[in-house]
């Protein structure tokens, strides 16, 4: 059973060409398309990013599964050192969690129309993310084991390094969002997909860290 149900997305475009849809099919052929692509896709984009983050989470899941299996099955070799300090990563965890809050604040401020306040919160988020990375580097330099010392050490560096890569990418994204939210930039209180995408990604990176902290440092 088929019937011509009006397409709400293309309604505005069709009203222009409504006079002669049958006589000039090409007019309706192109017009609804452009509006669909210009305005109707914010949902699909965030949804697409969310799907990508599921895929990304599966990469981490693979690494976690490998690490946990190594820990369960493979004995630590004689004389091998796998001592991790706890203070620095704990501080780092707090920093990342706070940065999620500051990013959320930035989004709320923008939605209220307070662009300047939003940009301050964004810079604070960048500062927290950068401090986290600095802390991670500091930890790397002070650890008693290197990348190839033993199986656990290798997995430790692979996991924290892969996550650090994500944080670095996140900081760069937030800086781009900060730049685009300047007066006259692409991100405005009404059109802010970039900010939402960066925020979703940042929360994801924080969430992964919490799991990573639990598995790599506490276990």
């Amino acid at each position: 059973m088929t019937s011509a149900v009006p397409n709400p997305i293309s309604q505005s475009a069709r009203s222009d060409a409504a006079a002669a849809p049958a006589a000039h099919p090409q007019a309706v052929g192109t017009a609804p398309h452009s509006t669909e692509h210009e305005s109707g896709h914010a949902d699909a984009r965030l949804f697409g990013l969310g799907t990508f983050l599921v895929a990304d989470a599966m990469t981490f899941a693979g690494f976690f599964a490998a690490y946990l299996t190594f820990r369960a099955v493979n004995p630590l070799p004689e004389g091998a050192n796998f001592e991790r300090e706890l203070l620095l990563p704990t501080i780092n965890t707090v920093l990342l969690l706070v940065s999620s809050v500051t990013f959320h604040r930035a989004g709320s401020a923008l939605r209220r129309g307070q662009s300047a306040l939003c940009r301050t919160w964004l810079l604070l988020t960048v500062a927290l993310g950068a401090t986290f990375l600095a802390g991670q580097m500091l930890e790397y330099f002070n650890l008693p084991f290197g990348l190839t010392d033993n199986l656990f050490a290798s997995t430790f560096y692979a996991l924290t390094g892969f996550h650090g890569l994500h944080v670095t990418l996140g900081v760069i994204c937030i800086l781009i969002v900060w730049w685009q939210s300047r007066a006259g930039g692409r991100i405005t209180p009404t059109d802010h997909f970039g900010l939402e995408a960066a925020e979703l990604y940042w929360h994801f990176v924080d969430g992964i860290w919490v799991v990573l902290y639990g598995i790599l440092y506490l276990l």
Partner: protein, 558 residues
């Protein structure tokens, strides 16, 4: 059948700076139909390369001694054959080619959700393929560790070829993930208003299930291969027992992707067959709802059966028990689908054209491959035939007898849509006959060889296996010859085939309710709302395609 002649009108100009004419097939086109055909043609080029490699393997195996190519070259050839066929032919074609071409039509959209990402996903494939093939000509040669790249073999063979292999598979995996994200978003978010999920053509469900598998399992392979490359380049010991590593963890992570990869190759074929059979049997697809649930059942079960590839890898008894049971269970949803197809054919007005012949042969081949699959799920049997030609035979019945037959069926079915011209039916039947005989001649004897202990991936074998290996090689030769009528047919018909009209099969799925080939944005007017894509044989009054397409209208008898 009567078809209203297309009214004369000028197709809409493509948006922006997109090139037109044949040049767009070499461009970064954003049109899902162009990208679909780019995938299809690229896939076929790699199919011929992979087929030539298979020819080298079968020539070597025509005699028990390693006398055709050096043993090392044989290892490179079998690695390249597997990798090219899986990652550059089957996955891109059943997902990328037909998915991109058909899914936007089926959901009533003018393009995929993310056209640019779509083009990026395609353009990752040619460089990845060239990279892989070129590694053969570099110092040390191509990877030699099979498409599984098991360590420690993959760590001890020449590093350059293996690293290029990893890089190539990472690029192809990335392409596959981008495609999967695009399909999920398109099917779930871009449906035409009024079109419900349970009204979608079955191929949409197959692609939704496949894309879920792609998104969940491919990243695990990517992560694993990155760790493997660390083992090769940085001398870490993740999977290197000499450095305290664990090879079984690699196998688990690898098969967590690579078993679902079988469903990534086969589920879309299930979907395509579900589109082809109702059209040529003039009957509704039997058991739509059970079809949907069995696809989703295969997706869920497909994620928890991977260790049945590892029954000889020291897996503990509880793991063997679990994975045997889970694997056997997959036969249930798969069986439901097969009975649905048989019921679709039952009592139909069958048109035994090339598309239908390939589809029916798919059912025969896949049932045989499925039966050997259930046999392989049983631990005692699996241990007996592990790493023998029985597994090779089983796998090719699934992937060639299953998926490749469906790819050919789909080309005979959708070629009129792609080009507006029909393929030659006589050449099509010749192609079918040669392929069907050649395929069974090539792979059926391998079951016997495997049962009697002929190992896979070895260039030499016991002389008592000679006769059946020669039969198998003759079959492979027939398969090679069978591509000739196909290629001639496709090229000649594309240039000067009989004009097909817009809907030569009198089909009801949405891609046929527009011109052939379709205009840039799929429909000249509003996208049709097709709520009964399989409404064959229903009373004429129920179908009002005139209101649906508003342009070319099928007013035929049913």
């Amino acid at each position: 059948m009567t078809l209203a002649s297309p009214s004369d009108f000028n197709p809409p100009a493509p948006p922006g700076l997109q090139p037109q004419g044949w040049l767009r097939y070499f461009s970064f086109s954003l049109d899902h139909k162009v990208i679909g055909l780019q995938y299809l043609v690229t896939g076929f080029i790699f199919y011929f390369i992979g087929g030539a490699l298979a020819g080298v393997i079968r020539t070597e195996l025509a005699s028990p001694l390693s006398d055709f190519i050096p043993r090392q070259t044989y290892n490179e050839v079998l690695t390249l054959h597997g990798t090219v066929m899986i990652f550059l032919w089957i996955v891109p074609v059943v997902n990328g080619a037909f998915g991109n071409y058909l899914i936007p039509f089926y959901v009533g959209a003018r393009d995929m959700a993310f056209p640019r990402l779509n083009a990026v996903a395609f353009w990752l494939i040619p460089p990845a393929g060239l990279l892989l093939i070129s590694s053969y000509f570099l110092a040390g040669g191509a990877a030699q560790s099979g498409w599984t790249a098991y360590p420690p073999l993959s760590i001890t063979t020449p590093a350059l070829g293996q690293v290029i292999w990893i890089l190539s598979v990472l690029l192809l995996g990335g392409s596959s993930i981008f495609g999967g994200i695009n399909f999920i978003a398109t099917i779930l978010k871009l449906r035409r208003p009024g079109l419900k999920l349970m009204q979608l053509p079955m191929y949409c469900w197959a692609m939704l299930g496949t894309s879920i598998l792609v998104v969940l399992s491919t990243p695990v392979l990517a992560g694993t291969l990155i760790l493997l490359s660390f083992d090769i380049l940085a001398h870490t010991g993740f999977f290197n027992p000499a450095l305290g590593g664990n090879v079984v963890v690699y196998q688990h992570l690898f098969w967590f992707y690579s078993h679902p990869a079988v469903y990534i190759m086969v589920l879309p074929a299930f979907g395509l067959v579900s589109e082809i059979l109702p059209v040529h049997a003039r009957k509704p697809l039997f058991g739509y709802t059970t079809m949907v649930y069995s696809i989703m059942g295969i997706v869920v079960l497909g994620l928890v059966v991977w260790a049945h590839h590892m029954f000889t890898s020291g897996t503990p008894p509880w793991m063997r028990l679990f994975f045997t049971i889970a694997t056997s269970f997959i036969a249930v949803p798969t069986g439901i689908k097969f009975f649905n197809w048989l019921a679709t054919l039952w009592g139909g007005k069958l048109a035994l054209n090339s598309a239908m012949l390939f589809s029916c042969a798919f059912i025969v081949n896949f049932v045989f491959g499925g039966i050997t699959g259930v046999a392989l799920a049983q631990v005692p049997f699996d241990i007996h035939v592990h790493d023998t030609y029985f597994v090779v035979g089983h796998f090719h019945y699934i992937v060639y007898g299953g998926t490749v037959f469906v790819i050919f069926a789909s080309i005979y079915h959708w070629f009129p849509k792609f080009t507006g011209r029909m393929l030659n039916e006589h050449l099509g039947r010749l192609h079918f006959l040669l392929t069907f005989v050649g395929f069974n001649l090539c792979f059926a004897p391998q079951h016997w060889l495997g049962l009697n202990g002929m190992p896979r991936r070895v260039a030499e074998y016991d002389p008592s296996f000679t006769t059946l290996n020669q039969v198998s090689s003759v079959g492979a030769l027939l398969m090679g010859i069978s591509t000739l009528p196909f290629v001639i047919n496709v090229i000649a018909s594309a240039l000067s085939g009989e004009p097909a009209g817009d809907n030569p099969w009198r089909a009801l799925t949405p891609e046929w309710l527009t011109s052939s080939p379709p205009p840039v944005e799929n429909w000249h007017g509003e996208a049709p709302l097709v709520q009964h894509p399989y409404g064959y044989g229903e009373a004429a009054g129920i179908l009002d395609i005139r209101a649906a397409s508003g342009q070319q209208i099928w007013t035929g008898d049913q």
